[in-house]
């Protein structure tokens, strides 16, 4: 039973091709991501990591190919997919005019949660005492943490994270790795781009999808 659950395919990419500025970033890229996997998309700058994540999230349309969530095309079944998707882009989606608490409260409510303890969640990302501070006055790392706080209160299966460790200190990176592992153990999957080496998630657990920089 447990094995069956682990082998369940959550997300599959079928022959994805992406063209940006008349340059082919990747073509006919296919892969499957099963529940419990932590995937790192790696490659040099400009190789299309963010483009791939945006395509997986359904924000961009690929030039060719499809993305399937549990066997269904994500463009056909968007509401259901969005319900199970947590995407954090390299733009944090945090409003500088609102406080950290208001930001988190809004982000969680708009994702559909109605009962949560914002202060408790903020203290988990080391923002205790900054609840009332405007996000515009926070440091870059704290700003990022305000966005990442959503990871502590979610039941989305698919996490798509674009450079989640940017501006986060070493201890924060460790905490994030722990929560990624816990999420994978619960049957979710994490797909991220990062250039940073991870300490806790070793190469045996981490799966890598490599993109190359092409000149054509």
């Amino acid at each position: 039973m447990a094995e069956q659950q682990i082998a369940k395919t959550l997300l599959s990419a079928n022959q994805l091709t992406c063209i940006r500025e008349e340059r082919i970033l990747f073509d006919e890229l296919s892969f499957e991501i099963t529940a419990g996997e932590i995937v790192q998309i790696e490659g040099p700058n400009g190789s299309g990591k963010t483009s791939l994540l945006r395509i997986l999230a359904g924000l961009s349309r690929p030039y060719a190919g499809d993305v399937y969530y549990q066997g269904e095309d994500i463009t056909r079944n968007r509401d259901e997919y969005n319900d199970d998707l947590l995407y954090l882009g390299h733009l944090a989606g945090v409003k500088t005019e609102l406080t950290a608490e208001e930001n988190l409260n809004f982000n969680l409510r708009i994702s559909g949660y109605d009962e949560f303890d914002t202060r408790g969640i903020l203290s988990k990302v080391n923002l205790a005492g900054f609840e009332e501070a405007l996000a515009g006055h926070l440091s870059a790392g704290q700003h990022r943490r305000t966005a990442l706080a959503r990871l502590w209160h979610t039941n989305c299966k698919i996490w798509l994270l674009d450079e989640p460790f940017t501006a986060i200190d070493k201890k924060g990176v460790e905490e994030l790795e722990h929560i990624f592992l816990a999420h994978a153990k619960r049957g979710g999957c994490v797909i991220m781009t990062t250039h940073q080496d991870m300490g806790i998630i070793g190469d045996d657990i981490l799966r890598k999808i490599s993109l190359e920089y092409r000149f054509v």
């Binding site: 999230a57 359904g58 924000l59 961009s60 349309r61 509401d79 969005n82 319900d83 998707l85 995407y87 882009g89 390299h90 733009l91 944090a92 989606g93 945090v94 409003k95 500088t96 005019e97 609102l98 208001e102 809004f106 982000n107 409510r109 708009i110 994702s111 559909g112 949660y113 109605d114 009962e115 949560f116 209160h153 979610t154 039941n155």
Partner: protein
């Protein structure tokens, strides 16, 4: 950790956030209003203070100024959200996009349309607007400015990804604004001549209902194209 937000709650959550942001960023409310007041007060200085001329051109001046003020404020509707990534999050939220978009447009109208409607009678006094026309002025503004916000939002959604979308935005949405302008000013003129103007109002009302139903879908689709 169950999900239990109703559509209504999601709508008001977004509406409240947008109003909250605007209150902390007061320029967003006062700039269009100030523009409206300035344009209307400059006209008597430019064309002379004769009451006959002023009351003849008053409906047109007030409506053109309202239209330009509304257009001026439109760009902010999605720009900030686009720049800081909140727009992506809105597109990926499990709530229906047309509903979210409607909440944003409503917030925009409350912040730019309503103050305009409230100040309009005062400016009409400055322009010697005919006494019979006040009712028509208020009614056309109340029905017409939401149409301006809704139609304008389609243009903004299409141009939000462009760096200098301002000129393109005006070219896109001005033709859509013209019917509203024509029916609104002719309603006010008719009221000034003591003629019935309910037909004009009915047409503006129909535009409002039509855009209220269709614009949110168009805006949502445009946003998906713009963020592609």
């Amino acid at each position: 950790m169950k999900k239990g937000i109703s559509f209504r709650q999601a709508f008001f959550t977004l509406l409240k956030r947008d109003l909250q942001i605007a209150i902390r960023h007061k320029g967003d409310i006062f700039n269009p209003l100030l523009f409206f007041i300035l344009v209307v007060t400059l006209f008597p200085l430019g064309i002379g203070p004769e009451p006959q001329i002023l009351s003849r051109v008053a409906p047109g001046i007030i409506w053109v100024a309202a239209l330009l003020a509304s257009m001026l404020s439109l760009e902010r509707l999605f720009k900030a959200d686009f720049v800081d990534g909140s727009l992506e999050q809105m597109l990926l939220s499990p709530q229906p996009l047309p509903l979210m978009v409607l909440a944003k447009v409503l917030a925009h109208w409350i912040l730019t349309g309503v103050p305009l409607i409230l100040i309009a009678p005062l400016l009409a006094v400055l322009l010697h607007l005919d006494g019979n026309s006040y009712g028509a002025l208020m009614a056309t503004l109340a029905l017409g400015t939401p149409v301006l916000s809704l139609l304008g939002a389609i243009g903004v959604a299409l141009t939000v990804g462009l760096h200098k979308g301002g000129v393109l935005l005006s070219l896109l949405i001005l033709p859509l604004y013209i019917p509203v302008l024509i029916f609104a000013t002719s309603a006010i003129d008719a009221a000034g001549l003591n003629l019935p103007y309910s037909g004009h109002l009915a047409i503006i009302g129909a535009m409002l209902v039509g855009s209220l139903i269709m614009a949110p879908f168009a805006i949502g689709a445009s946003l998906r194209v713009s963020t592609n």
